[in-house]
Amino acid sequence: MWAIYKKELKNYFLSPIGYVYIGIFLLACSLFFYLDIFTYQSSDFANLFGSSSTVLTFIVPVLTMRMFAEERKNGTEQILLTSPKSITQIVLGKFCAAVSVVIIATLATLMYFLVLKCFGVPHIATALVSILGFALLSIAYVSFGMFASSITENQIIAAVISVGFFLLSWFLPSMIYSASNFSLMYAFYMSFMNGTIAIDNLTLLLSFTLMFVLFTIIVIQKRKLVK
C-alpha cells in the first residue's frame, strides 16, 4: 500500500494537479476570508469555511477524476492489477494519497487563523473543530470522487458525475427538507461550524466515506468479470 501511496502522492506534485487544487482552494479561502471576516470585522474563524465548503464541489472532482479513470484509459491498471497487491491495498493507497493532498490544503487555512490572532482574540477550540469538520467533509468528497473515477474510463465524465452529486447534496435540502439529514454539507454546517461535534453528523461523514471506499473496491473487483 505504501508503494502506491508514495507514487500517487509524488504524482500529484509532479503534475500540476496538486498545486492547482491547493492554489485554487487557498485563493477561494482568501477571497472568503476578505468577504466574510475582514469586511464584517468579526473574529469568528469558522465563518471562513461557510462559503469555502461550496468551492469543494468544484475542485475535489479535479483532484479525484484521474485516480482510476486515467489508469484504465492508459492501460497502466494492467500493471497494477497483475502485481501481487490486493485491490484493497491499491484503493487505499490511492485514497490516502488524495486525502493527504486535501489535508495539506486544509491545514494551510491555519494561516488565516494566525492573521486573525494578530488583530483579535479568536477561539482556538472552535477553530480546530471546524478545521476537523472541514477535513472530514473533504475526505468524504474525495471518497465519492474516487468512486466516480472507478466506474468510468473518461476523466471528464468522472468529474461531471461527482460535481453533479455534490450539487445535489448542496441544493436538494432546500427543496426537500428531509434530505438535509443526509446532506454532507449540512452535516458540516449544522455542527462543526458552530464548534460542536454531533455524533450523528460525525457518523454520517465517516460512514459515507467508508461506504464509497468499499464501493470502489467492489467495483474494481467486479470489473474483472466483465472486462
Partner: protein, 424 residues
C-alpha cells in the same frame, strides 16, 4: 508450471475464449500463435489474473489465480500488449515502483534494478522520462518491468511489435536467454519469430486451440508430400518418361520454360521416399543434365494457414448444413395449406424449445459434475498438504539432527586444520 483447465470467457453472447486447456512445464518457451482477435491477449490476461474467466481455472505453480491471487501473481512477470507505462516517471523511477509493487526487499532492490537495466540495455536512458523515449526503448522498459522481482514465469504479449529489425533480434536473443531460467509464454502473429524462439507452439483461432505441438512437428504434419523443384536441360524431351523409371514419383509438372533451353519441373513424390538420389542416378542415363535440384520446404506459415483453413471450412460446412436444412423446411412449409403451416410452425417451435431445454440440462449436469470434481480435488490436495507437512516436519527433525552431527564434524575438522595451520 502453469495449468490452464477448461477456461471460457464470454462477453454477453460473444465467446472470446472457448474451453481452452493446456499445460506449460518449467523452463519451457511457449508461443501463442493466431490471427488478430483470436483470443491470445484474453487468454494471457486471464493467466495473469487481470481478467476473471467465466468458467474454468488456472493454476500457477500450485496456486489458483482466482483463489490465492497474491501468491500466484508473485510468480508472474507480465508485459502487456501496447506497453502501458507511467509516462511521467523516469525509467529508473518506474522500475523502482515496480520493485516496490512486487515486494522486492529494500536491500536487494538497487542491485536487482541495476542488473535488469544492464540486461535490457537501458543504461543510456535510465534517467530519462518515459514519455520522451522511443517506442523501442518503451518496449524494453516494459520487459524490464516484467523482469523485476525475478518471477519464475514471464508472460510477454507481442514483445517485438513495433521494433526495428536490430531491436527485434536483440529482444529475441534476450528472450531465448531468459528461457533458460524462466518459463516464458509469448504471443505473436509473426511466424518465423515463434518458430525461432519457441519449443512449443499453440495455434489458436476464434477462441479455440487448433493445435499444440513443436514447430518442427507442425511443419511435418502439413508436409503430406515431398516436392522437389528441378531445373534441367532436356533436349530429347525425356522428362515425361521418368515416371515409369522411378516408381515413387506421383506427378511431374512443368513449372517454367526458360528461354536458354532449360526447363523447371516440380516433382511430387510420397512423403516417406527421398527421391533425390534416384533422380541423380536416373536422369543422366536419359540424357538429361541437372542444373539445379532443390527440395521445397514447408514453413510454419503453411502449417498455420492450413490448420486455420481446415478448421474454418469444417465450421462453415456445419453452418451450411444448418442453413440448408432450414431452407428445405421453409420450402416444405410454403407448399402446405395455411392451417397446416401454422400447426407445423408451432410444432417446430416446440421441438426447438425441447432441444434447447435438453442442452441446458446437459450443461447444468456437466457443471454439477465439474463442481464435484473440483471439491474432491481440493479435498485431496488438503490431505496431501497435511501429509507432506507431516513428512516435512519429520524430515526437518532428521535433518536437524544430521546437521548437528555434521556441524560437529565440521567443527572438529576445522579445529584440526586450524591447529595444523597454527603449527605451520
Amino acid at each position: 508450471m502453469i495449468e490452464v483447465k477448461n477456461i471460457t470467457k464470454k462477453y454477453g453472447k460473444f465467446i472470446a475464449v472457448d474451453d481452452i486447456s493446456f499445460e506449460v512445464k518449467d523452463h519451457e518457451i511457449i508461443g501463442f500463435l493466431g490471427p488478430n482477435g483470436a483470443g491470445k491477449s484474453t487468454t494471457m490476461n486471464m493467466i495473469t489474473g487481470y481478467i476473471e474467466p467465466s468458467r474454468g481455472k488456472i493454476i500457477i505453480n500450485g496456486y489458483d489465480i482466482s483463489k490465492s491471487p497474491k501468491k500466484a501473481k508473485r510468480q508472474i512477470g507480465y508485459m502487456p500488449e501496447n506497453v502501458p507505462l507511467y509516462n511521467e516517471l523516469t525509467v529508473k523511477e518506474f522500475l523502482n515502483y515496480m520493485a516496490e509493487l512486487k515486494n522486492v526487499k529494500k536491500k536487494e532492490k538497487k542491485e536487482a534494478i541495476n542488473k535488469i537495466i544492464e540486461e535490457t540495455g537501458l543504461k543510456d536512458v535510465e534517467n530519462k522520462i518515459i514519455k520522451k523515449i522511443s517506442r523501442g526503448y518503451k518496449q524494453r522498459v516494459s520487459l524490464a518491468g516484467a523482469l523485476v522481482g525475478n518471477p519464475d514465469i514471464l508472460i510477454l504479449d507481442e514483445p517485438t511489435v513495433g521494433l526495428d529489425p536490430k531491436q527485434i533480434t536483440e529482444i529475441r536473443t534476450l528472450i531465448k536467454k531468459l528461457g533458460k531460467s524462466h518459463t516464458v509464454i509469448l504471443s505473436s502473429h509473426i511466424l518465423p519469430e515463434v518458430s525461432q524462439i519457441c519449443q512449443k507452439v499453440i495455434i489458436i483461432n476464434k477462441g479455440k486451440i487448433l493445435a499444440i505441438d513443436t514447430p518442427e512437428n507442425l511443419e511435418d504434419q502439413t508436409k503430406a508430400e515431398n516436392s522437389i523443384l528441378i531445373t534441367v536441360e532436356d533436349k530429347e524431351n525425356n522428362m515425361n518418361k521418368i515416371n515409369s523409371k522411378i516408381k515413387a514419383i506421383k506427378d511431374i509438372k512443368l513449372v517454367k520454360d526458360n528461354e536458354d533451353g532449360t526447363k523447371q519441373y516440380l516433382i511430387i513424390a510420397n512423403k516417406d521416399n527421398d527421391i533425390r538420389k534416384d533422380l541423380f542416378d536416373v536422369l543422366p542415363k536419359e540424357n538429361i543434365t541437372i542444373f539445379e535440384l532443390k527440395q521445397t520446404e514447408t514453413t510454419l506459415e503453411d502449417a498455420f494457414l492450413k490448420v486455420i483453413n481446415n478448421k474454418e471450412s469444417e465450421i462453415k460446412k456445419a453452418e451450411n448444413k444448418g442453413v440448408t436444412k432450414k431452407k428445405r423446411r421453409e420450402e416444405e412449409l410454403n407448399k402446405m395449406n395455411k392451417q397446416d403451416r401454422r400447426k407445423a410452425k408451432k410444432e417446430d417451435k416446440k421441438a426447438e424449445r425441447k432441444a434447447k431445454k435438453e442442452q441446458f440440462n446437459l450443461e447444468w449436469e456437466k457443471e454439477k459434475e465439474e463442481n464435484k470434481k473440483i471439491k474432491e480435488e481440493a479435498k485431496l490436495r488438503k490431505k496431501e498438504k497435511n501429509k507432506s507437512n507431516k513428512k516435512a516436519s519429520a524430515k526437518k527433525e532428521v535433518i536437524d539432527k544430521s546437521s548437528k552431527i555434521n556441524k560437529k564434524e565440521v567443527k572438529n575438522k576445522s579445529s584440526k586444520t586450524n591447529k595444523k595451520g597454527g603449527k605451520k
